[in-house]
Amino acid sequence: MNAPLRIPLIVGAAMLAVLAGVPLVADGYGLSLAINILNYAVLATAWAMFSGPTRYVSLATVAFFGIGAYTVAVLGEALPWPAVLAAAALVGLVVAIVVGLSTLRLAGVYFVIFTFGLTELIRQLVTWYEVNVSNSIGRYVFLDISQEQIYWQLLALGAVLFLATLLLGRSRLGFALRIIGADETVARHCGIDTTRAKVLLFALSAVFMTLSGAIMAPRWTYIDPAIAFNPVMSFQVLIMALLGGVQRLYGPLLGVVPLALLFEYLGANFPNHYSILLGAVFMIIVYLLPNGVVGLARRLRKADRPASPAAKEAS
């Protein structure tokens, strides 16, 4: 194993050990909050895994999350739990590959809104199917899965995701993707099969989103398309990841943790003025942190070494 990988791995393992202990000390609400943060951490990191290097902004997060949740709703009582998860991952993978292949010609905002439209289309088709074929719209998830188990599963998923992203960044595929992100034409001229690289990565990130939806589903008892495919979630993930910064592995986390806590704090203490305060805080953040939290950290680090010419340039 090469040296640059060792430090993040050790830090990661230590954090994992600490986080694994949370359910032992947290009460119901603490655990709930931790699950929420973990869920968004997985989604935002998976989102950045594709969108960070390629700069394609996707609003299809909740499409995959919802597919995962729905797979559980349909198969949850018919198959053993690991098989349900595997089935969810498979469905997510297939959908992602089809979507990936069909969206390749789109760029910029056209891709953004396409992925949004696609999510809505999936939601509408699921609704239509449920209404006309199943004759009922909601599905019930009565599985014997405790909150602690949900937490640990999410944590494991997060760990695998981090490991995968870490390895990806050091692989040929990761390098190819960074070139694509910088300039797709150049990448093509370098002999990179851009299509294959993008679709592979999109599918990989989608599988993680699907799995997180599947793991979360037992929390709600009742699932209908409006709940499973709620577009607000796609936006929230996008915002959290952008705010944290998508160029670094830990960037999305720096967006997720403070924002999730902020949402929680404002929602709990100002239930009637939540929106106004959230909006105001949000705008302030955008004006004060031009490059996300990662950018702030970098700026502060540079300010530590005033002699560095880069610092002058940046300011």
Binding site: A107, F114, G117, E120, Q124, H273, G279, V286, Y287
Partner: protein
């Protein structure tokens, strides 16, 4: 039956175009992906409601009051909230990200203010909800009126953008802000103008749809999303494109509802949208550039 479907599709499409046109100006010219767009639209609807029920000012007179105020307000928003972002970003992509984040905040503020003022309740009033008979088909006058305004705005803005000096300048900014500066166009002023005009159009749309739609403080997002679909399908920055795309979506919806299954209408509009993009990746009237 065919005629009914045709007319109801055209009126619905007119409404879609009406709520989308402002955004195509704001995004196409000023490069502000304004996520708070629908909130401004709903705010205008509330104003129309208050004028109508409180002061008995009909929505059409209300337009004369609300649209200029919206223009001024949007100008101020651009001038004071968005100009700092425009100044600090170097690339178009960076401005896009920044404007998404900032207007996301703005969305919550406007929505929150409406929430505090009006609560979450539904609001609705009735104005010009009279039947009009055209070729054996009956339509509501207020919806027909919205269609008329959409056509006037769409064609009017199209002519203004293509036939006047000011319009040409604005289009130049839309195509290439850097080069526009080289030919002595005040880019920031043109952008502010386009943003304000877009906001005014949104307000006009809000007033008009409030005549027949039931709304509440949380419905802005629905309009933003619909508008996004329409402007992307029409091609960013193209007002006429928005009109055509809106009509296309309206017709698709109404024909599916009449001949196939009303349960599939929204699925079909998204299906049409996705198909158009797959065939023409930059929309119906979009330019090929990224």
């Amino acid at each position: 039956m065919f005629i009914d479907a045709l007319f109801s599709g055209i009126t619905l499409g007119g409404m879609y175009a009406l709520v989308a046109m402002g955004l195509t100006l704001q995004y196409g010219v000023s490069r502000i992906m304004n996520l708070a767009y629908g909130e401004f639209l709903v705010a205008a609807a509330f104003c129309a409601y208050l004028l109508m029920t409180g002061l008995h000012v009909t929505p059409l007179w209300g337009l004369l009051l609300i649209v200029p105020i919206a223009f001024a307000l949007n100008w101020l928003v651009y001038r004071f909230l968005l100009t700092p972002l425009v100044k600090r970003t170097r690339t178009r992509a960076a401005l896009e990200v920044d404007s998404i984040l900032a207007t996301f905040g703005l969305l919550f503020i406007v929505q929150g203010v409406m929430q505090v003022t009006f609560g979450g309740n539904y609001y609705s009033y009735s104005y010009l909800n009279e039947p009009v008979r055209i070729l054996d088909s009956v339509l509501a006058l207020n919806r027909l009126l919205a269609l008329g305004f959409a056509a006037v705005f769409g064609i009017g803005f199209y002519l203004a953008l293509t036939r006047t000096r000011l319009g040409t300048a604005i289009r130049a900014v839309a195509v290439d802000p850097v080069a526009a500066r080289l030919v002595a166009i005040d880019v920031r002023w043109a952008s502010a103008l386009a943003f304000a005009a877009g906001g005014a159009l949104a307000a006009g749309g809000g007033v008009l749809v409030s005549m027949f739609l039931t709304f509440n403080a949380n419905m802005g997002v629905i309009f933003t999303m619909k508008a996004l679909i329409v402007i992307i399908m029409g091609g960013v920055g193209n007002v006429l494109g928005a009109l055509v795309a809106g009509l296309l979506l309206g017709l698709a919806e109404s024909f599916i509802a009449t001949y196939v299954d009303p349960g599939l209408t929204i699925a079909v509009t998204y299906g049409v949208f996705l198909l158009v993009l797959l065939v023409r990746p930059t929309g119906l009237f979009g330019r090929a550039a990224r």
